[in-house]
């Protein structure tokens, strides 16, 4: 069975001038164990895809479908989508002042466990796990006490998203430009995190602008998104070709 099945998806973003169509019949299938890279010029609809799949307010689905592990995503509230294993690493992680990172992670993992009828982890062992994860991503343990993303550097924010990915271990990870704004060392740390997460039972959709991330996280498929549709699919060599030639030759 496919892990993610997006078929003929149409969606528009709500703007002050009314709805503006962005996704115009998008198809994408991800099987467990696969990594799919989605590339495309700025404004082509990459973030829109991730947002519509995860249920962010502000978008209207005009047609088509999206299934995750046999569940119709479009029928579910955002938190329900998370509870069945959908994870979005944000392009722009938001600050939640005064809510410590640790507290936020505990609330998250407890909510997920509750929804799945699993036992909530005991606080001490949970905190140990989180500290170890933070260390493995070169994050100072002190940062767990700080407010969520409050005053974090760009790199810390992105590494924090990856820490959450590893902690929550979802079925499907949508990573929206997790590589942007990272220097090469941070990029390696992030890529290493994603590689640790990869397994035969989960899938990754990697949205990126640059092929350099794909040197570290080797994708099974590369897709080009343009004007709301996937216009080209291939393997890793497509990314190299894009880097050499740009997007113009495709459109």
């Amino acid at each position: 069975m496919n892990l993610l099945d997006v078929s003929n998806l149409h969606a528009s973003v709500e703007t002050d001038d009314g709805p503006q169509p962005i996704l115009k019949g998008l198809n994408l299938t991800v099987k467990a164990g696969e990594v799919h890279a989605i590339m495309g010029p700025n404004g082509s609809g990459k973030s829109t895809l991730a947002n519509v799949l995860s249920g962010r307010p502000g978008y209207t689905v005009g047609g088509g479908g999206a299934m995750l592990g046999g569940n119709n995503l479009l029928d579910l509230e955002p938190f329900e989508r998370a509870q069945i294993g959908m994870f979005l690493a944000f392009q722009y992680p938001v600050e939640i002042p005064g809510v410590s990172n640790m507290e936020f992670l505990k609330a998250s993992i407890d909510s997920l466990a509750r929804a799945r009828g699993e036992e909530q982890p005991n606080t001490a062992s949970f905190m140990r796990t989180v500290r170890e994860l933070a260390a493995s991503l070169d994050l100072d343990p002190a940062f767990l006490k700080r407010g969520v993303n409050e005053g974090f550097s760009g790199g810390e924010k992105k590494r924090n998203e990856i820490m959450q990915l590893l902690l929550l271990n979802p079925k499907l990870a949508l990573l929206d430009e997790t590589d942007s704004g990272l220097d090469i060392d941070a990029l390696k740390v992030v890529a290493d995190g994603v590689n640790r997460y990869r397994s035969e039972s989960n899938g990754v959709v990697l949205i990126t602008h640059y092929q350099r991330l794909l040197d570290y996280i080797v994708p099974d498929y590369v897709h080009v998104l343009s004007n709301g549709q996937i216009i080209e699919s291939g393997d890793k060599s497509l990314a190299l070709e894009l880097e050499a030639k740009g997007y113009a030759w495709l459109t």
């Binding site: 249920g55 307010p57 989508r81 939640i96 969520v148």
Partner: protein
């Protein structure tokens, strides 16, 4: 469209959890106010002549005063003749106030109010072994309960007496410690201070009295629960706390009232006196009935609270979590008379539906090197109005005085209002006065970030709001910080669709 965006959260319908009415027999004075009512109250309490005279003097002043109208709140004129000025549960009107005589209905009331376990046990007359109920030793709480007009029970009297601490109803202190009451009553808030303070001085019913002797660290938290039960009664309690030189006390006040369709008036006065090197920490968790989602009913909370740092290095700290009342009009203040004295005000005021709050503080710097800190967190949801009003006055004598003020407002939805009125009067150019302010919203992005990690909408809002209030909750005694967090959650229920 997803029902998780902020706009959808603003649907009203909050449920008030303390809104039950207790069925106890009570003796209630018919509505109306004149000199005979003042005399009746004084006589009912067997007060000495000086106090009867003091009340009558206040009453005469009140009659010449006008209701203030400068606050950013709106309500129809109050008919002061339609209020009853005295109500007491019958079983308490005679004889000693021993716990055995407490009406079981009242004890059930405390249970429903969620008064912490160890306090309930104490109220039931059982002095608990702290270890047995899982309370860390040293964090016991002695409780005084004011039900309508009278004080019902004061617990842990003996432990406190051993430390020399006096903690009793003020009506009792008038008889047992008349010299202290006569000396300090009205010494911080004069009768004529304001309209409601004058009214309170004339008709005050009961309240708590605390005296901490020189050098004593009060062995436990002191606490009062106020409850308005009777219909059409006003509550006018009066609290007086005196911390003698080098002493220390932490005091918590909690308030609830039943749901009534008509508005009820609560006009309390709290006076604090901290002598040199003494410290008073006064925390309030106020959850008076706020009225329904259309603004019907609820408490008018018109309260005067002021502390005097009378000697050098005295410290007074107000921490308040205000979630209730239809209208709140309240400015706990500190007069910093002693050199190097310290005043603090930490406040969370949450309004939802049609609630209106005009609250803040006054820091009056008179002594040298005095220091004050103001941290105010206003949260507005529904169609409510939330206003911070604060005054920092630096007198010519207040050499090197320092103030830091931080006022943050958080909006939930776009039907509510937040206002900030900071007044600064600086008459000494060696002073440092800093003011920071911010207004933010619980954004769709923040909510979505929580939901995307599996956290449901209601919990997400409450977590974000609690985070916003963290600097204030940190100031509350441990056990009440948890209570305050829960209270916010309950008060926001209506804001979460």
């Amino acid at each position: 469209m997803s029902k998780s965006s902020v706009d959808d959260l603003v649907e009203a319908g909050s449920e008030y959890h303390a809104g039950f009415v207790t069925d106890v027999e009570s003796e209630t004075l018919p509505p109306g106010l004149d000199e005979s009512v003042v005399r009746f109250i004084s006589a009912r309490k067997g007060e000495p002549q000086w106090l009867t005279d003091w009340r009558l003097e206040a009453f005469a002043k009140w009659r010449e005063m006008r209701e203030p109208n400068w606050a950013h709140v709106h309500y129809p004129p109050i008919d002061f003749q339609a209020i009853s000025y005295y109500s007491a549960p019958k079983s308490q009107t005679d004889g000693p106030r021993s716990l055995d005589e407490v009406d079981p209905e009242l004890l059930r009331t405390y249970e429903k109010l969620g008064i912490p376990l160890h306090e309930q046990a104490a109220l039931a007359g059982v002095v608990p072994d702290p270890a047995a109920i899982g309370t860390p030793a040293g964090t016991n709480v002695a409780v005084d309960v004011v039900f309508d007009s009278v004080s019902i029970a004061t617990t842990f009297k003996e432990t406190l007496a051993a430390a020399g601490v006096i903690f009793c109803p003020i009506s009792e202190a008038v008889h047992s410690h008349p010299e202290l009451v006569q000396k300090y009553l009205g010494s911080v808030i004069p009768q004529r201070d304001n309209y409601y303070a004058a009214l309170n001085s004339a008709v005050f019913s009961d309240g708590s009295f605390v005296y901490i002797p020189k050098g004593v660290r009060c062995p436990m938290e002191l606490s009062t629960y106020f409850r308005i039960n009777e219909r059409n009664t006003g509550q006018f309690e009066r609290t007086l706390i005196i911390a003698d030189e080098g002493s220390h006390v932490s005091y918590l006040e909690g308030c609830t009232a039943p749901m009534r369709d008509e508005n009820q008036l609560h006009a309390a006065v709290v006076e604090l006196v901290a002598m040199g090197d003494a410290e008073i920490k006064y925390s309030t968790v106020q959850n008076w009935y706020p009225g329904d989602e259309n603004g019907k009913g609820g408490i008018y909370n018109f309260v005067t609270k002021r502390g005097l740092c009378a000697g050098p290095r005295a410290k007074i700290s107000w921490t308040q979590v205000e979630t209730g009342s239809a209208i709140t009009w309240k400015y706990p203040s500190v007069v910093l008379r002693g050199d190097e004295s310290v005043g603090e005000f930490y406040s969370v005021a949450l309004t939802n539906n049609r609630q209106q709050a005009d609250t803040g503080t006054k820091m009056i710097h008179m002594g040298k090197n005095t220091k004050s800190t103001i941290v105010s967190k206003g949260i507005s949801a529904g169609g409510s109005e939330n206003c911070y009003r604060g005054l920092v006055r630096i007198s010519p004598t207040a050499q090197n005085a320092r103030n830091f003020t931080q006022c943050d407002s958080l909006l939930i939805g776009d039907q509510c209002g937040a206002h900030t009125f900071p007044y600064i009067e600086n008459k000494n150019n060696s002073a440092t006065v800093e003011h920071e302010a911010s207004t933010s919203k619980v954004s769709d992005d923040q909510l979505f970030a929580c939901q995307q990690r599996g956290i449901e909408t209601e919990q997400a809002v409450s977590m974000i709001v609690n985070g916003f209030c963290k600097e204030v909750f940190r100031e509350l005694p441990m056990e009440f910080a948890v209570e305050a967090g829960k209270l916010l959650e309950v008060s926001l229920e209506g804001a979460v669709g």
